[in-house]
Symmetry: C2
Subunit: 752 residues, 2 copies
């Protein structure tokens, strides 16, 4: 769904200081077990084959395979057959979910400049699958409500919260209007959500050529960027409330499950939404009148971008079939020999919006090759200590349906048994990147020291770390001054936190299972065919990881992670990195409160002194912002205390762990599994109880983008001053629960 | 020439704290003289008439009036007649200078996509003067050498030093190529200069629609922005070496003066140059191949910008008439009653590239109204204590010709007599802005507290100060952390330093005369017709200061400055603001050296570790930068000492001044005049001895942009480590010379 590299490339600051892994045993392994493991891992990494990955993609992308399509089921059955042919115990677990598809779509500009949007991606002669019209889903946004509206247009830039502040300042209202927003910056579902909150009656989302079209490179099929008629499909469900089947939140949607009636579903948009191409968008943008937009609102079309409203009316009408469709999750299991009740889980989705070569098959094809490789090793006598589960999810694109329903259905078992969840999705050429639970940061570092970058022949860990040195601009360093000194000194490269956008969401955010999302990318200017009919085998094999060496690298990386986690005597979580990271988050939310206090005070003073009036052009409409309540001071003591307690407990655990050695201890392993679970609170986040992790969540108004310590951070960002202290206490309590688990683990280790 | 508001809007950080001027006498005035002055100033400000300013512009812009044109002379004679009619003692002072005009111009793209550039600005039916073809200068860059070259094209973004570093990193050379650069960022003359230094054989400069075309607003004649065929003419002489007549550096070019032979002139470009429109540029940009450019290199055309080189060749041929042309400076004098040998000078040029309504007549028309107002006051019995000189310069556009030749010719007198030079040029709606000598910062603040903003009815000082509060983004504050606390606390709003771009250059940079450049702007998106045939009366009266209220404000502001400076008992220079500013500059150059040392060390370490290789895409050309010498540590002690000494001397002077009262003292006034002169060093700056001010200079590679403490700052920036200590000592010595002058003035005051 979301490209891993669509986010800012380098959130983690780090450096090359330590060397690759040495003769010290792998963490969590006794010396002899480590030596054996290293040998098996080397065997593992030698097996994945770029040609097989290519052929996996060719087969899986041969026809459109969205949820409910014939080829979606066909792919699931083919995956099942493949997994069985590898000797794995595999099955299809079937669920069902609401998945609306278009019945009718219409968008037109009325009046003298009458224009009817084409809403169609043309067949390209050179691209053999681009013309599979009968099976392609039309261009639309899933979970838009039905609607038929005629209204003036207003341009809202990316449609993010700050964009509405800008419109307010310019005296432009979207009330009663159809907004036209460009893709980018926020997750697309935020655009209609905010538009509706501001009173708009419809929402058009278009792909501006500045963001993924000709501004960034040659357009398809001459190059990888989006052509004039290319359209980004995608879900606009309000997933920050909850993902998965809208009619069964928190419950696995098996046949016969009780459904929330459609008209009571909270996560369907409040206004009709439709995505369009930039060829279709241009006449609508040209119809806008009013003020010229600020510089950072300008797109790449050769026009003067204006806010609107338009005098000319636009007419938007969409209607959908509100059907429930089957979901085919393909699941293969390798039982653990020693700790069969400890599950190491891997996943990547297999459904796509259309042919989906890049998204998701660049990841799926590698994942399948991993599974085959484990099949080979099993034949050679290898056995994992823990149970390995390989999942190929259906229905990720509409709303993380397959993974969410599966994990909700198996929630009780997962809470008891799940050690870790490793996710991938689209994959491309370039640099390793991981986001995830910080108890796994050290583990991710250790594994990636052993993976060779296929194009530079240094380890992917070293490459990422060195590249960070060069790619960090002075500005990035200035913005994160606390990281500056640590670049070369910190042994572990930082990993970013997880927001949302792929199948890890239910694992980390709902169930509190330590998770990592990983992949390669950042080199080719990709993303131009994202969620379009042109994201297909021709595109991927001409412009992306054309020789599939980064597909192989993904299989090697994720496979090594699975193996090393499954084979370890002691689960190799490490908590000092986590404590260090949480300490940073605590610093951040404290600084956020201070910054907002200063800004609001400054702004109020400026309003009182007449500074906004002085700065405004008297010949243009401009609105002075309202005076706001100055944020009170908050009691951060519980968070400071929890952060310090975690730091101490993590250090103690390291000491006990080192003293104890790594010989397996079932009791300690059982405690360790609960460390991430401890971070959840069954009450969940304010107004969205499905999200229970108190450290990580996707932002209520970012969608993809993470909010760490979300209950606290969002209460401050949303200016809900009255609840901040409560959320600090709840968040601190979650961290203290982890402290207790860690203390228990240390105690067992010291006592044993 | 340069629009005051083309530069970053707010260099000065400041705030609204002190109120408007109170009952305290004006600085430099005894209480009774202050009361009289305030009355005269009020009378002055009541007189300027927006209709007269409009009619001045209508008359002066009626026909093209570039140097050497019939209407240029006609305008000079009309100005003379006007000044005489006001009762002023006026004359035309005639000089002459080299001013090349086009003989032939050709630009074409060869090969299959053959395209011949139009090089022509079409006549617009609604714009009555746009069709005066017979008198218009064709589109060209003055002081381009003759040349006829055929070569591949390379796109160099703005053609600034950093752009060539980027090209180096991408493995793209301009050797033997014709570069195509967009207007903006640097002064245009820097573009061919750097291109030639990097081995290019020709230079095309075009106006990208992102910078002043449709991206910023509706295009002419629907709006103020540049239309597809609009072209920016302009000088490309190497003025950072010296401005003025290229054949007579340092000497006033009166008939019979000895001329440097043309082939020995240093300031003519080394390669042929031609400016074009974006309609003409598009086919050339489309011919570029190679890598897609970095994000900040992308312009506003609907194309993929690439670096080149092009496979297709371009052919550029230009030839010029290398004639010497007459210059008509119009100069009016009002003799001083008490200190006739102390000159208060005001200037604005009258020549234009074509009709020049905005540039320069928006300033010239106001200046003429100022002169008329003084004529009125003289009739009412007012007499200035000092001599007032009003100058209307010719030949500013090609190379500051009229002002430079005049000031070089009168250099000896000016060094003795000049108190101050107040300059203006293009003027528009919006906020007051001043750049200049910091001994005048307090004076500028004091005057602007008494000028009413015509659209908000608060003082222009208060408006600017309040607006700064709102317009300063958090990022701007973060970049200037030292300014943050002072926003509201510092009594005087900071003024920016002077680089180059208008007629103050010879005064401040060559002769060391305290100067201020002032004007209004920042509200309308102007600049779109800059140096085009469309910068005319129709344009200005439809899109700029359409009711001329800011023209009147300029006349009121500059007139009040002239009057208050001419009437004062003691020259109201103030040095604590200056000392504070120089202290900041010293801090900046020290930080610059440290920053460069850190950056070079970091880069060298990255090179040694292979970080550039790790960060590079192996499938793209990229070049590792060369290892560089780490800058040594420099002896900044003399500058620190001089800065402290100036701070002490300025404070002492304030004390003596306060104790003495303001009754006129000829001896002190004579000392004070020498304070700015003391900052000059007859040896001048390294490699450009014409520039003698050791505190202010236009940058060698910025052209317009100022470099403060230029000998030191540029030695560091240009990595001439060996000369840094010497330049520190020379710069410190200049400041110490001012300290001595100040001490002498204080001593006289204390003794008297």
């Amino acid at each position: 769904m979301r490209r891993l590299y669509a986010a800012l490339f380098l959130l983690s600051l780090s450096s090359y200081a330590a060397g690759p892994s040495s003769d010290v045993p792998l963490r969590g392994y006794t010396a002899p077990d480590s030596a054996t493991e290293v040998q098996w891992e080397q065997k593992f990494r030698a097996i994945p084959d770029t040609n097989r990955i290519r052929e996996n993609m060719r087969r899986l992308s041969a026809r459109p395979h969205h949820v409910g399509s014939p080829y979606d089921k066909d792919n699931a059955e083919w995956l099942l057959a493949q997994l069985k042919s590898y000797g794995l115990d595999a099955k299809i677990e079937q669920f069902e979910a609401l998945f609306p598809t278009p019945k009718s779509r219409k968008l037109e500009l009325l009046g003298a400049q009458r224009f009817v949007a084409k809403l169609e991606e043309p067949t390209l002669a050179v691209d053999p699958t681009s013309g599979q019209k009968d099976e392609q889903l039309p261009t639309y946004n899933a979970y838009s409500r039905n609607g038929d509206v005629t209204a003036p247009l207003v341009y809202v830039n990316y449609g993010a919260p700050a964009d509405y502040e800008q419109l307010d300042a310019m005296g432009v209202s979207v009330k009663g209007a159809i907004v036209i927003a460009r893709y980018g910056e926020t997750w697309r579902g935020i655009k209609p959500k905010l538009a509706a909150q501001h009173g708009a009656v419809g929402c058009i989302i278009y792909s501006d050529p500045k963001d993924d079209g000709y501004a960034r490179g040659d357009t398809y099929p001459d190059g990888p960027m989006r052509p004039p008629d290319g359209v980004q499909r995608g879900s606009v469900m309000d997933m920050p409330i909850y993902p998965g089947d809208p009619q069964t939140p928190g419950v696995g949607a098996v046949p016969g499950v009780k459904l929330i009636p459609l008209d009571q579903v909270q996560t369907i948009t409040k206004i009709p939404v439709l995505p369009i191409s930039y060829a279709d968008a241009k006449p609508f943008l040209l119809a806008l009148e009013g003020q010229t937009v600020p510089e950072n609102w300008r797109g790449g079309l050769p026009i003067t971008y204006k806010t609107g409203p338009s005098k000319t009316m636009a007419h938007l009408a969409v209607a959908f079939n509100w059907d429930r469709k089957p979901l085919y999750d393909v699941v293969a299991t390798i039982p653990g020999s020693t700790f069969p009740d400890q599950w190491v889980i891997r996943g990547n989705h297999h459904d796509a919006w259309v042919n989906g070569a890049d998204d998701p098959l660049s990841g799926t094809s590698a994942e399948l090759e991993e599974a085959r490789t484990f099949g080979e090793l099993l034949k050679q006598g290898w056995k994992p200590q823990r149970t390995i589960i390989y999942c190929f999810w259906d229905g990720e694109e509409p709303a993380l349906l397959g993974s969410t329903e599966w994990a909700e259905y198996h929630a009780d078992e997962l809470k008891k048994h799940a050690v870790v969840y490793f996710n991938s999705d689209s994959n491309a050429r370039g640099f390793f990147r991981a986001e995830g639970s910080h108890s796994l940061e050290n583990f991710v570092n250790a594994v990636t020291k052993d993976i060779e970058d296929p194009e530079t022949n240094m380890s992917v860990w070293k490459r990422q770390r060195l590249a960070n040195e060069v790619r960090q601009t002075p500005q990035m360093r200035a913005e994160l001054p606390e990281s500056r000194g640590e670049d070369r000194a910190r042994p572990d490269t930082r990993i970013a936190a997880l927001g949302s956008g792929s199948d890890y969401t239910v694992f980390i955010d709902h169930l509190g299972i330590a998770s990592v999302n990983l992949g390669y990318g950042g080199e080719d200017e990709g993303g131009g065919q994202y969620h379009s009919v042109y994201d297909d085998f021709y595109y991927y094999t001409h412009f992306m990881d054309t020789d599939f060496v980064y597909g192989r690298a993904l299989a090697q990386t994720a496979g090594t992670m699975m193996m090393r986690m499954a084979d370890a005597d002691m689960i190799p979580y490490q908590f000092t990195d986590q404590a260090d990271t949480i300490h940073r988050y605590v610093t951040e939310v404290k600084r956020l409160a201070d910054t907002m206090r200063t800004e609001i005070k400054d702004r109020n003073m400026n309003i009182a002194e007449g500074a906004y009036k002085a700065a405004a052009d008297p010949k243009k409409v401009s609105v002075v912002p309202p005076v706001e309540t100055v944020p009170p001071y908050f009691n951060f003591a519980p968070l400071d205390q929890a952060s310090d307690d975690l730091t101490a407990a993590a250090a103690d655990y390291e000491k006990s762990f080192a003293a104890h050695g790594a010989s397996g201890n079932a009791q300690v392993n059982a405690e360790l599994i609960q460390t991430e679970r401890a971070l959840t609170d069954p009450g969940g986040l304010p107004n969205r109880p499905w999200f229970q992790n108190m450290v990580y969540a996707p932002g209520m108004y970012t969608g993809y983008g993470v909010k760490t310590l979300p209950a606290v951070r969002e209460a401050i960002e949303q200016k809900q001053w009255a609840i901040v202290d409560t959320q600090i206490a709840r968040t601190a309590a979650a961290i203290e629960r982890e402290v207790e688990v860690l203390k228990a683990a240390s105690k067992i280790l010291s006592g044993s």
